[in-house]
């Protein structure tokens, strides 16, 4: 499995919408756990709502798209991660749903 960054810019009107999407994402992810693993997401402030930058491990870009289609999530761009530089741990998450 490779690591990917997925940009979902301005995907949702509100935090509640995003919460629902997160639940769908988890459910869809469980159906294809051999091919995709959600690592973490950063929720972005956008002009008309919220977007996300998601970190996933996946067997292919197609698996990410199949998961997004199953969970009805937007995909703007998928970028492959070739290395990780960890400097400090992530700030404490505001909400932990998964």
């Amino acid at each position: 499995m490779d690591t990917y960054v997925i940009l979902r810019r301005s995907g949702w009107r509100s935090g509640e919408d995003l919460q629902e999407a997160a639940a769908r994402s988890t459910a869809a992810g469980e159906q294809m756990s051999d091919d995709i693993r959600w690592i973490r997401s950063y929720v972005l402030e956008e002009p008309n709502g919220v977007g996300t930058v998601c970190i996933y491990q996946a067997s292919s870009p197609e698996a990410i798209r199949a998961h997004a289609a199953a969970a009805d999530l937007p995909v703007d761009e998928i970028v492959k991660v070739v290395d990780t530089v960890l400097v400090r741990p992530d700030p404490t998450p505001a909400t932990i749903d998964n």
Partner: protein, 842 residues
């Protein structure tokens, strides 16, 4: 009982599957983890009886052996065997098949059919396998992959025992549960063996544990153990009686010790791991003597696979030859080609004393089975040796027909020049003999060679010869084959309707005569040929028909599926195309199907801006290089040029397109010339282009964006249509292009358009002059380029470097130039070129 710890969940799931019915459950786990114990316990809890069969750890298992065990009538192809199995399951609705990772090909083919049709029955089939032994291209893995999508097929995994479970077993005996768990990692069989030895030190390996346990038996009890150990899988009591004689009295002691167990009138080790451990400790001379005794005792059984195995182990070449060849023939008839090839190979290892005529028959048969199972190098070697023998025997017919048969493995292995030579030589040899089916078939092979090289006119000519010769002989198979080659050649030359007519005639002939392989081939060529000509709607219809047909007839679907992936991508159904391509790539498909799938995947990734486009297209290029055929190389380079363009690298797009442009021009391929010219034009590096290229590209290169878009839409290509509109001048057309690219999720193309809407055309020449009108020698653009450099005194190697071509391609151009200008030397060419005004800058 060790095995029953921590298995309640699995037993419950098996029981649920049984009650539901119409299910096939694969139970996986490592060797010794307790799969057999699990299914035995499951069976023991049932009220009625079950059908059972198990696969043996033989290099060449008996075809359909496990189903024979289960009492199923195993006659005919996998569909018939599956029917017979379903009949048997009506009265006894549970079948346990053990160790299917060792299954022969015919059994696996049957399992595949069972998986697809089990929902129509109320039965449960449970198949156990070692999940750590099916890496890579293991045939079982293929079956599991193909059945993965069926809701009726599921997989269970038997886990190792937990520390708590091992402790629970060890502590009543005063053993150190933690240490045992640490050593065995919870492998149930290993744990049991250790607990049975009660030694002071823990045995380091499973083998040590087994041998330590065996060492506790009396010496003459061990002798019986040795006999059972050299019989793979199970030993019949009568066989032991014949071989072990007196020692059989120790059977009860061996069973009581837990090493062996009796099942009806057979005896077996409690586990295959134990048998292998004991077998490995039998001294070589004794092993040989035992195999000899077993061979004599089995002689009346008629089980050729077993006889061949023991004959080889006994070092009895005469017996190997007798049984292995028979076993091979039997396996091939049952469709177990892997086993057939292995048996022929075994026979050939012992063939030193055969006459030339006997040996050549073995070689011919082995060459065929090796080809069918994808071992091309072996197939080639066998046939080359056969040809030599035919020559010494003076058998010209055998020589010629074997030469012709060399063509296919040569091509599959990527040795085109050798294939060409063999195919020509075959015709030469066979034409000197009275006409027969061998010659007709050799003509068809010539047609095939020309067709795959896209030398379409020659493909038609040889195809016609094949059909005429075959019709005179009433050889229906070659008639259908020849018609196919004629039709495919016409399609590839752009005479689509005419080609389709011939292919439909081939299809009709093949259907009439029940020639399944020819039916599949006609449908496959209709689909892929029309696909290559961008007649996508028709192509898709034939490809789907082809896939349905081959799957119903257990033929390989990969080529048709890989073309369906491409057609779906060109019709902008990117998710479908990508998943179709991934499906092919997840199987050990042939290189040609892999190339097409990788192109489909690479194009989708490039068009969506997803990562991994170059991974896919690099692999496609590596696979396409050995064959060197336009249909793959041109396709790969076109896709690579597109991918380069989409990441903004116009220079690389031009280079990629140039690589196979001369070859595409030489073959006059409407679509490859069209696309390869297009990318050079986009990069501002194309002087002119022939008029005959595919219409949508011709319109684009002539600067007619709107008309080009309409032409693309007629071919069913929304992405290409939108791409054409990005080249328009009209603002409203550009906006339409953008909206369409956004709708398709074509991020890179949209980004290019947004980034530089006004800079378009800066580097893009428009309204390109079509044709070679002002070109008396009718040289192509590339030939003119080469000619100018040659006239300037450059050597071919320099020309190659300058134009980023291979030296071979330049050689080729130079000969074409000499021919077209009707001159003999480079100097004369320079003079002629100057006279014709070809050297002026245009």
């Amino acid at each position: 009982m060790t095995e029953l710890l921590e298995r309640a969940d699995l037993l419950a799931q098996l029981e649920a599957a049984r009650i539901e019915g119409g299910r096939l459950v694969f139970v996986g786990g490592e060797a010794g983890v307790g799969k057999t114990a699990l299914v035995r316990e499951f069976a023991a809890r049932l009220i009625g009886s079950v059908l059972r069969g198990s696969c043996d750890n033989l290099t060449t298992p008996t075809p359909l052996g496990p189903l024979l065990d289960a009492g199923v009538a195993v006659d005919g192809d996998p569909r018939h065997v599956a029917e017979a199995l379903f009949d048997a399951l009506q009265s006894t609705p549970v079948l346990l098949l053990e160790d299917v990772h060792w299954a022969d090909q015919a059994t696996l083919d049957t399992l595949r059919v069972v998986g697809r049709r089990i929902d129509a029955t109320g039965a449960l089939v449970v198949a156990t396998y070692r999940d750590d032994e099916i890496e890579g291209s293991h045939p079982l893995r293929v079956v599991l992959g193909e059945l993965a999508a069926s809701p009726e097929v599921s997989r269970l995994s038997v886990p190792r025992l937990s520390l708590a479970a091992v402790r629970g077993l060890a502590e009543p005996q005063g053993a150190d549960g933690e240490a045992i768990h640490q050593l065995t990692q919870g492998n149930a069989f290993y744990v049991t063996e250790i607990l049975a030895t009660e030694g002071a030190t823990l045995p380091e390996t499973i083998r040590d544990a087994v041998l330590a346990r065996a060492a506790k038996l009396e010496p003459d009890e061990r002798l019986l153990l040795d006999v059972v150990a050299v019989v793979p899988a199970r030993a019949e009591l009568w066989l032991l009686d014949a071989v072990a004689g007196e020692e059989l009295r120790n059977l009860d002691a061996c069973v009581a010790s837990g090493m062996l167990h009796e099942d009806g009138d057979t005896v077996a080790f409690r586990h295959e791991l134990a048998r292998l451990a004991v077998e490995s400790a039998v001294a070589p001379h004794r092993r040989r003597a035992l195999h000899t005794a077993i061979l004599r005792a089995l002689e009346s059984s008629g089980d050729l696979s077993r006889l061949a195995h023991h004959a080889e182990e006994a070092g009895d070449s005469v017996a190997v030859l007798e049984y292995a060849a028979g076993a091979a023939k039997h396996a091939a008839e049952a469709g177990a080609h892997r086993e057939a090839a292995a048996q022929y190979a075994r026979a050939l290892r012992h063939a030193s004393r055969l006459t030339a005529a006997e040996r050549v028959a073995l070689l011919a048969a082995y060459g065929q089975e090796a080809e069918v199972t994808g071992r091309y190098a072996e197939s080639i070697d066998a046939r080359l040796e056969a040809i030599e023998l035919y020559q010494t025997l003076g058998d010209r017919l055998g020589e010629g027909s074997t030469m012709s048969r060399l063509t296919v493995p040569y091509i599959r292995a990527g040795w085109n020049a050798e294939a060409e030579k063999a195919s020509r030589a075959a015709v030469d040899v066979l034409e000197a003999l009275p006409p027969g089916p061998e010659l007709a078939s050799a003509y068809a092979t010539r047609a095939y060679m020309r067709m795959i090289s896209r030398d379409n006119a020659d493909g038609v000519t040889w195809g016609e010869k094949a059909v005429a010769a075959a019709e005179a002989l009433g050889d229906r198979d070659t008639v259908a084959y020849g018609l196919n080659m004629i039709g495919t050649s016409y399609v590839m030359s752009g005479e689509i309707d005419r080609g389709v007519d011939f292919l439909l005639r081939s299809l009709e002939e093949a259907r009439k005569d029940g020639l399944e392989v020819r039916v599949a081939s006609a449908l496959s060529m209709l689909g892929s040929g029309l696909g290559e000509m961008y007649e996508l709607e028709q192509a898709e219809r034939y490809l789907r028909e082809c896939i349905a047909f081959v799957e119903a007839h257990e033929l390989t679907p990969w080529y048709a599926r890989s073309w369906l992936a491409l057609v779906e991508v060109y019709r902008a159904r990117w998710d479908d195309g990508a998943s179709q391509a991934r499906h092919v790539l997840a199987h050990p498909a042939d290189p040609i199907s892999r190339i097409s799938s990788l192109i489909a995947l690479g194009r989708v990734r490039a068009r969506r801006g997803d990562p991994g486009a170059s991974d896919a297209l690099d692999e496609a290029l590596e696979l396409a290089k050995p064959g060197g055929h336009l249909q793959r190389l041109g396709h790969v380079h076109a896709a690579r040029a597109e991918a380069a363009w989409l990441v903004g690298d116009a220079g690389r797009a031009v280079k990629e397109a140039r690589t196979t442009y001369p070859l595409a021009l030489e073959k006059r391929h409407l679509w490859f010339v069209g696309e390869l010219a297009y990318w050079q034009w986009k990069g501002g590096a194309l002087a002119d282009v022939p008029e005959w290229i595919a219409e949508p590209y011709r319109l684009q290169l002539a600067g007619c964006a709107r008309e080009a878009a309409a032409a693309w839409r007629e071919h069913g290509c929304p992405y290409e249509a939108a791409r054409a509109l990005t080249e328009a001048d009209d603002e409203s057309l550009l906006l339409r292009a953008l909206a369409e690219l956004d709708r398709l999720g074509a991020r890179p193309a949209a980004k290019l358009l947004r980034r530089a809407p006004h800079a378009r055309g800066a580097s893009v020449p428009r309204g390109l002059r079509l044709s070679t009108r002002a070109n008396p020698g009718e040289l192509t653009a590339r030939e003119l380029e080469v000619l100018r450099l040659v006239a300037a005194g450059r050597r071919n190697a320099d020309v190659a470097t300058e134009l980023v071509l291979s030296p071979r391609t330049v050689d080729h151009h130079v000969s074409a130039i000499l021919r077209k200008l009707q001159v003999r030397t480079r100097g004369e060419a320079a003079v002629a070129a100057a006279e014709l005004g070809l050297l002026e800058d245009r």
